[in-house]
């Protein structure tokens, strides 16, 4: 249990700089950061979720969809990735 918590914290720390770039609208820096991180953490859904957000914010919709799909393939219960993918596909929640 403790180990899991620690690893979640580790992931949070790992993602932090990238989140900072996104929140400051520095999408190019955020993109570079997460693409680099992807090389060493290909099984982490959060990286793909954040890449999806960056592409969506940049209006690069097909790439955004691809990233949200990857996040969902790694973590099928990822609510936010599902919400964004549905919205991009035009399947708005009623």
């Amino acid at each position: 249990m403790k180990k899991n918590n620690q690893s979640k914290e580790d992931i949070e720390n790992l993602l932090e700089p990238g989140k900072f770039y996104i929140l400051n609208n520095q999408y190019e820096e955020a993109l570079k950061f997460f693409l680099k991180l992807e090389q060493t953490h290909k099984d982490n859904p959060e990286i793909y979720y954040h890449l999806g957000l960056i592409y969506e914010a940049k209006q690069e919709i097909s790439k955004a969809k691809e990233m949200f799909e990857k996040a969902l393939s790694l973590s099928p219960k990822h609510k936010l990735a599902k919400k964004h993918l549905d919205s991009l596909l035009g399947i708005e929640e009623k």
């Binding site: 999408y27 954040h50 957000l53 969506e56 209006q59 936010l80 964004h84």
Partner: protein, 236 residues
């Protein structure tokens, strides 16, 4: 009956198009009377209807009994999608019954011409309109949504080109250079969700933006103007 200032609508034909129409009208707070010859179709949308009616709309008596008269109905929409004959005959009956405004769905161009000759107030061609819109968005991926104001003018959403980033509307001089007016900006704002602490995006629309508003990457400009000028701007 609805309040006096609200219009009273009747939708005849509750297939896919008619069903969506009654659903959206009811979401807009309008009370709708829905008619179809098929009981199952009427039943499937009864939650959106003030009055669900199963009847044959090509039969004058049945229409009269259903309450289709100019005192109770302001606008009738003929949404019949299965038979051109039924659509034309129903439209003629509605004219004959004195309904003030009739909107009819056309299934093909010949049908549209006949409806226009009968004297309907508006012919809608949902399949053709959707196909046209899809074709335009496929060929012009930078145009996301388009709302036609007239044959010449439209309001369109355009993804801001790279050249616009970090410049204010005033600096860009869009109105002088491109002869279109930016009436709004749609923007994705990055946020940290209060509930989950996760990074997320929030949609924001700035209507009638100030001249000093700066364009940022990912902005979608809502522009109004001549279609040809909007098209030129898209090609930047």
């Amino acid at each position: 009956m609805p309040e006096k200032n609200l219009k009273h609508f009747a939708v005849i034909g509750l297939g896919v198009f008619g069903s969506y129409l009654v659903e959206y009208l009811s979401q807009l707070g309008v009370e709708v009377l829905g008619i179809d010859i098929d009981e199952k179709k009427v039943d499937s949308v009864k939650q959106y209807l003030k009055l669900p009616i199963v009847c044959d709309a090509t039969d004058r008596k049945q229409l009269e009994d259903a309450g289709i008269n100019p005192n109770d109905i302001d606008v009738a929409i003929v949404a019949i999608g299965e038979s051109v004959e039924a659509s034309i005959y129903t439209t003629l009956l509605l004219k004959d019954l004195g309904i003030k405004k009739i909107i009819a769905r056309a299934l093909n161009t010949q049908h549209a011409k006949i409806l226009a000759k009968i004297g309907v107030d508006k012919v809608v061609f949902p399949e053709a309109n959707t196909a046209e819109h899809l074709a335009r968005t496929l060929v012009s991926p930078h145009i996301i949504e388009e709302f036609e104001l007239s044959e010449e003018y439209s309001i369109s959403e355009i993804v801001a080109p790279k050249e616009f980033y970090k410049k204010s509307l005033q600096e860009l001089g869009i109105r002088t250079k491109y002869k279109v007016m930016v009436i709004g900006i749609k923007r994705k704002i990055p946020i940290v969700s209060e509930d989950t602490g996760e990074t997320d995006l929030k949609d924001e629309v700035l209507l009638v933006p100030e001249p000093d508003e700066t364009i940022i990457e990912g902005d979608v400009l809502i522009v109004a103007g001549k279609k040809e000028d909007i098209e030129k701007m898209r090609k930047i």
